[in-house]
């Protein structure tokens, strides 16, 4: 028989070093994420600072020059941004209508059996690595485009096939996020619409979709952000050199800078190509990569903030 426990002992005062230690450890793990963000910002800023601090680089020229050609000291980032925007817009043109239609079908029309087939298919599409999509763009999409529009119109490396395949890449993303948003709308709203005599189409387009608008906008912005950050597809299929112009006049002549069927390197494609080769750590090429990276980071960061703000602002509380 044990001696009875002295209930006067204040168990609460008993120090448990183990608990505090573990709590501290877990806190550092969580704080590591902050460290990551800090790290990203620091690294990008400091190397970009190195870049802009060089005498041959001017901030104004960085944004207004019409060429990105490090060999001759021209660092106009807009040609790269232009290519990125072109691919992303083409991607959204493909993915947004398609994704929305599939999402509406899944949430409003599809039977549970169809859903059980389609959702795994979309998951599979979402799980395919981007190199595979890049391969697909080069070996399937480009020849098809060349057959449809002629070899002299469509170059072997072109923005259009990369854009279309990026669209296919983000399709599952848009579909699943949109479908989640549409499904979150309470059924009561639909029933009210049916009660007033609306058809299924009218309910879907005029009642449910506006109600889910915040989620849909979030989906839209997340998808664009993904398209902008996409690397491998453009690296393989879009071209290995920026679409440079000697002047803005030449760029706008015949809308040459917007031609989707010629090659153009995007921001991400450029970073991958340059860093995949031999590059010395102190060279201007190395620093310029971080300047591009900083621009990319800022764009996606802003988009991310925007999407969360919109979601918070327009979220309907049911």
């Amino acid at each position: 028989m044990h001696a009875p426990i002295d209930l006067a002992t204040n168990l609460k005062k008993q120090r448990r070093w183990g608990e505090t230690l573990i709590q501290g450890l877990l806190f550092t793990f969580a704080a590591l994420s902050i460290l990551t963000t800090v790290g990203i910002v620091l690294v990008l800023l400091s190397q970009a600072w190195h870049f802009f601090a060089r005498p041959e680089v001017s901030l104004l020229a960085f944004f207004t020059d019409s060429k990105w050609q490090p060999q001759i000291g021209r660092f106009g980032i807009f040609v790269l941004i232009n290519a990125t925007l072109l691919t992303s817009i083409i991607a959204m043109l493909v993915a947004l209508p398609l994704g929305m239609m599939i999402a509406i079908y899944l949430s409003e029309y599809a039977t549970p059996r169809v859903r059980s087939i389609l959702k795994p298919v979309l998951e599979i599409l979402a799980g395919i690595p981007t190199v595979v999509y890049g391969y697909f763009a080069l070996t399937f999409m480009t020849p098809i485009l060349q057959q449809l529009l002629g070899r002299d119109v469509v170059e072997v490396f072109n923005v259009a096939s990369a854009g279309i395949v990026i669209g296919i890449l983000i399709l599952p993303l848009i579909t699943s996020m949109a479908e989640d948003a549409l499904s979150a709308v309470p059924y009561a709203l639909r029933e009210a619409a049916y009660g007033l005599g609306a058809t299924r189409l009218e309910t879907a387009l005029k009642i449910v979709t506006p109600a889910a608008m915040s989620g849909l906008t979030a989906a839209f912005i997340v998808a664009i952000s993904r398209a902008i950050g996409e690397t491998m597809i453009v690296a393989i299929a879009a071209g290995a050199g920026p679409r440079n112009f000697n002047s803005w006049g030449e760029a706008l002549h015949n809308l040459a800078m917007f031609n989707p069927f010629k090659a153009a390197e995007t921001m991400t494609g450029h970073i991958v190509r340059i860093s995949g080769g031999d590059i010395s750590y102190e060279s201007i090429d190395y620093d310029s990569l971080f300047a591009i990276g900083l621009t990319l980071f800022i764009i996606t960061f802003v988009l991310n903030l925007l999407s969360r703000r919109i979601v918070r602002r327009f979220r309907e509380v049911y």
């Binding site: 573990i22 793990f29 963000t37 690294v43 389609l118 981007t130 391969y135 990276g293 991310n304 969360r308």
Partner: protein, 701 residues
């Protein structure tokens, strides 16, 4: 009052239009969905299309030529061997020596039948029937070879070949030859008629013999008796065309024909590729007419009483390594063997060697394969092979592969996808027509060899072993780093978090990080892990640097970078899993007096593990497929040794796919497709494991 609301017929119209619109849009939605599914199928089909197909391969040396050269040399350089292009000489010499053995055409045997004795091979004697039917091992066709261009001129060449074809069957048997099969002779006749545009009856009238015309024939000594008899018959028929017949061997004859030095070549074997090419180079099209069949007899002196029949293996031994008759069969006398064989230009020798030693490289015994390697591969490389594993302990399959890789040196000229291979055969045929030395092979690009071979710069031998191992190592490091840290962070946020500003910040942060493009993580990894933490990642801190790399572009750096990349995903996932554990569990645990950590460790975590596991596996499969960050960190482009640890250089499967896709040669596209299949199978396995786990442990509370 009812202005806005349609009535009656208008109402019906309105309803009909609404219904039609509904149907239209519904089909549109359905179309979009089918398009989505279609895209996936097209994607998979494209990859499969590129991983099977025909391949045009060109060998540096054809396997048959390689073997022929090899065994010919063995026979010619065997001890106590004399050679001559004159079969008559050989026959005479064998007839004069009791311990001699040799081989030559049946026709020569007839002339010296009293001094010689023929042997059976594999139990079959060289009778006329056995030779004609092909049962006898060493029966071979005899040809007259000339050029289509010469025939079209309808000069002496056309005349003589036509005459030969017409009259040959009347001479063969008497001279000891065997008739050509009737079908073959008829075919030769038809070919001749088509090339000259004449028939045998009209040939005399159309013959335009000028005084300066002559006919030169060079070639196999086997055909000498027959040809000389034919010339004599021609003279008896009253044609006084000057004809010169020289022996010197089939090879000499064909070479002279293709260089224009001879009008007709006498051949005791079919043309070889090199001879065909040499003719084509001089814009001549050779054409061969089968005129007779001949048997090569292995003869011994008539006083040789101990041998009657030889097996193929005994023939091989007798003409190469045996120094004494007793080396072949112990019961035979131990006298030295004296060999008399045709010379290196002789077609007889070629046929003998091919039939006796075989021309299928894969069927050759190990000693032959090793001998081929020793002859054709440089000393340094041989030494390296010996050091890795001695040649005579390697398996037959291994040796064959080595010979193919190092001696035959195949080069892929062109590849075709599965669709092209089946539907567009004419493209393939057109390519083969302008590259006749190429061989066509149907290839499945995903093979076990492909998975286990290391990287190589030549598409014929490239494999993904280095890449798979690199991927596995990197993912291991990623796992070891990100899962504990991610789960720990999730536990903190869910269990210990107090919702204050710091925790909110961390939460926002994680959501932000999930949306950062992966290439930015690559740049972070480059600056921090590869450069700043170089002593750590290169292993210098531990004194374990990989000898081939002295910088931080190692598996460790790659694993840490990918770990950071998937950390937000793991945290978000783990939080969901932990949140899903009902509060009741925790409350019951506290009620029994457990501390916070005890509650977490013994109650919350075990119930959350299935969800955490599923999420982690999905995150890992995402990391498996990541390419851009690793390229930025500095995956090696040319790496041929397997990674040996966390401090080695690395390449991964997706990077390998990227590099192969970027190369222009067609073969690399096929390799990339095969590698994609391997990658997708691995990912499928991972995802299937995740789904199985999820289904198994799914419990609703």
């Amino acid at each position: 009052m009812n202005n806005n609301y349609p009535e009656g017929a208008q109402l019906q119209q309105f309803l009909k239009r609404r219904r039609q619109k509904g149907i239209l849009w519904r089909s549109l939605f359905l179309l979009a969905t089918t398009l989505g599914v279609l895209v996936l199928m097209v994607l998979l089909l494209t990859i499969i299309n590129d991983s099977f197909g025909y391949v045009a391969i060109q060998y540096k040396i054809e396997p048959e030529t390689l073997l022929l050269q090899h065994h010919k040399n063995r026979v010619l350089e065997a001890p106590l061997t004399e050679t001559s292009e004159d079969d008559d000489y050989l026959a005479t010499r064998i007839g004069a020596q009791e311990h001699a053995v040799g081989f030559f055409s049946m026709a020569y045997y007839q002339a010296h039948a009293d001094a010689l004795r023929p042997l059976s091979i594999e139990g079959i004697a060289p009778t006329a029937d056995a030779i004609a039917s092909g049962e006898y091992l060493l029966s071979r066709p005899l040809f007259l070879v000339t050029t289509v261009e010469a025939l079209q001129q309808r000069g002496p060449t056309a005349f003589f070949t036509g005459y030969y074809l017409d009259q040959v069957n009347q001479l063969v048997e008497a001279l000891g030859y065997v008739r050509a099969p009737d079908q073959a002779l008829r075919q030769s006749m038809e070919d001749w008629q088509r090339s000259t545009g004449l028939t045998p009856d009209t040939v005399r009238e159309n013959l335009q013999l000028r005084p300066s015309d002559s006919l030169t024939m060079v070639g196999s000594s086997t055909l000498m008796p027959l040809t000389q008899a034919m010339v004599k018959r021609l003279r008896q028929d009253g044609v006084s065309l000057p004809i010169s017949v020289t022996d010197g061997g089939t090879a000499t004859g064909l070479q002279a024909l293709c260089e224009g030095a001879a009008d007709i070549a006498l051949a005791s074997r079919p043309l070889q590729w090199e001879e065909l090419q040499s003719c084509q180079r001089n814009h001549l099209t050779p054409i061969a007419f089968r005129i007779a069949t001949d048997g090569i007899v292995v003869v011994v002196n008539q006083n040789n009483g101990w041998v009657d029949d030889l097996t193929k293996a005994e023939v091989q031994l007798l003409f190469t390594d045996a120094r004494h008759w007793s080396d072949v069969r112990p019961t035979w006398p131990s006298q030295p063997v004296s060999r008399w064989v045709p010379g290196p230009d002789s077609g007889t020798l070629d046929v003998f060697v091919t039939r006796v030693f075989g021309d299928d490289l894969q069927a050759q015994p190990q000693e032959t394969l090793i001998a081929l390697l020793e002859t054709h591969v440089s000393k340094g490389v041989l030494r390296r092979f010996e050091k890795e594993q001695p040649l005579n302990t390697r398996s037959h399959e291994e040796l064959y592969q080595l010979v193919v890789e190092r001696v035959l040196k195949p080069t892929i000229l062109e590849t075709w996808s599965l669709y092209d291979s089946i539907v567009h055969r004419e493209q393939i045929d057109a390519f083969l027509a302008q590259a006749p030395q190429a061989e066509l092979e149907f290839r499945r690009w995903v093979t076990w060899d492909f998975i286990t071979s290391p990287q190589s710069s030549r598409p014929e031998f490239a494999g993904v072993r280095t890449a798979i191992l690199g991927s596995l190592w990197v993912v291991l490091i990623t796992l070891l780093f990100s899962v504990p840290v991610g789960v720990g962070a999730a536990i903190y946020l869910e269990e210990y978090g107090s919702g204050n500003w710091l925790d909110q910040l961390i939460e926002n942060n994680i959501n932000n990080l999930a949306g950062v493009p992966s290439i930015i993580y690559g740049m972070l990894g480059l600056a921090v892990f590869v450069r700043a933490l170089e002593p750590l990642t290169s292993g210098a801190l531990f004194g374990l640097t990989d000898p081939t790399t002295a910088n931080g572009r190692t598996i460790l750096a790659a694993g840490l970078t990918l770990g950071l990349l998937i950390l937000p995903i793991i945290i978000i996932n783990a939080r969901e899993a932990i949140r899903a554990v009902p509060r009741a569990f925790r409350e019951a645990s506290y009620a029994l007096g457990a501390t916070k950590w005890q509650t977490i460790w013994y109650h919350v975590l075990p119930n959350a593990i299935p969800g955490i596991l599923t999420g982690s596996i999905l995150a890992i499969s995402r990391a498996f497929g990541e390419t851009a960050p690793l390229v930025v960190i500095g995956a090696s482009t040319a790496i041929f040794v397997d990674p040996s640890g966390p401090f080695s250089k690395f390449t991964t499967l997706p990077i390998q796919i990227y590099q192969w896709t970027a190369r222009p040669q067609a073969a690399f596209q096929n390799l990339a497709a095969a590698a994609i299949i391997v990658l997708l199978v691995l990912l499928l396995a991972l995802n299937a494991a995740a789904v199985l786990l999820r289904n198994k442990y799914q419990r609703s509370y």
